[in-house]
């Protein structure tokens, strides 16, 4: 039977390092997806994800279990991303050799994942749609972006979202509505063609 988050944390507090590894493996993909979507930049995502888990390691002893673990972890994630965004200078992004693949391209030239060997025009069209979606998400304001990303990646309920983002459920509902409305506005011509 899989260990619950709580039992892993208990074991970690008793000095079992392996349980921390299990926690990282359990959440790494989800946290990474959130951070990548928030930052729009692979290397920033790598650095910030590592930072989040280091923070987690150091503060896990203080976790009292009043709220659910994942609510706590997502709040840590969102706060770390927002701090990083505030700290990051808003300047023209570059594609540069010294930046590993995928670091900053998204802001300079919208991109999507490579999806196969073919180079046919159809695939290019699909890629274009992906590019449009990514850039539309990127254009959302931070408060709309975070709630939309958390909802779409994690399928969290409005109540859970409200806890993580520390606002009311009504605010979550209206933000999601606004986020989707903006996306729809930008993507309508592409969605209907696809």
């Amino acid at each position: 039977m899989a260990n619950s988050d709580e039992s892993l944390i208990r074991r970690f507090k008793n000095g079992d390092e392996e349980s921390f590894k299990e926690l990282v493996k359990r959440y790494q993909a989800r946290i990474y997806s959130i951070v990548f979507a928030m930052m729009g930049d692979k290397n920033d995502a790598d650095d910030i994800c590592q930072e989040i888990f280091v923070k987690l390691y150091r503060s896990l002893y203080q976790f009292r279990g009043k709220s659910k673990f994942f609510t706590w972890l997502y709040r840590l994630t969102v706060n770390t991303c927002i701090n990083a965004q505030n700290g990051r200078k808003r300047k023209l992004q570059t594609i540069s050799l010294s930046h590993p693949v995928g670091e900053s391209e998204q802001s300079l030239v919208e991109f999507i994942e490579q999806d196969g060997e073919n180079c046919s025009i159809d695939i290019l069209k699909n890629k274009e749609l992906g590019m449009k979606i990514n850039s539309a998400i990127d254009c959302l304001s931070d408060d709309l972006k975070e709630v939309f990303i958390l909802r779409e990646i994690e399928d969290l309920s409005y109540r859970e979202l409200a806890k993580i983002l520390q606002c009311s459920e009504g605010t979550i509902k209206s933000r999601l509505f606004r986020a989707r409305d903006r996306l729809k506005e930008k993507l309508l011509p592409y969605i209907n063609n696809s």
Partner: protein
């Protein structure tokens, strides 16, 4: 009027966050209102596509990277008291140094600075940014007829220079 109310609730409807009655009203309304039905389809499509695009996998050795970073943090914390001790011992040395020793040291530093200004080439620049090498590389590359221009020119121009 009803359409507007319905549209405002479609987002919550696709998230399954409406109570049973409101959900049922929306469902029924969308069934008979082609405009709301269309909007519902569009929202679902966007949600589905975004989900596909947003989910990413970290690198396979992610945990190892985290562990390495944890080690670095631990080492940095351990080093701190040593650095403090070192600084104290240097301060102590300076206080115990005779006046002539202090003067000699200051003259030495001044001479070094003087030479640095007069003959900067004696002291090679302490550090260079990799970007200037990249620009040179790209210039050589782009002189070939079949390089992937014009993308490279973009890099050339946008590369940050100090």
């Amino acid at each position: 009027m009803k359409c507007r109310w319905s549209k405002e609730n479609l987002s919550a409807y696709i998230d399954g966050e409406l109570n049973i009655i409101t959900g049922w009203i929306i469902k029924r309304h969308a069934k008979f209102c082609p405009e709301c039905q269309k909007e519902l389809n569009e929202l679902q499509k966007i949600s589905k596509l975004s989900k596909l695009l947003l989910i990413k996998e970290p690198e396979f050795d992610f945990y190892e990277q985290v562990r390495e970073k944890l080690q670095q943090v631990k080492i940095a914390q351990q080093e701190k008291p040593e650095i403090a001790a070192e600084r104290k011992s240097i301060e102590r040395m300076w206080t115990f140094l005779p006046q002539s020793g202090k003067a000699a040291l200051l003259v030495g530093v001044a001479a070094l600075l003087f030479f640095l200004v007069i003959y900067p080439q004696i002291f090679p620049a302490p550090s260079l940014s990799i970007e200037q090498f990249e620009e040179e590389y790209l210039r050589s590359r782009e002189t070939l007829p079949w390089v992937e221009s014009p993308a490279l020119s973009a890099t050339l121009m946008s590369a940050e220079r100090g």
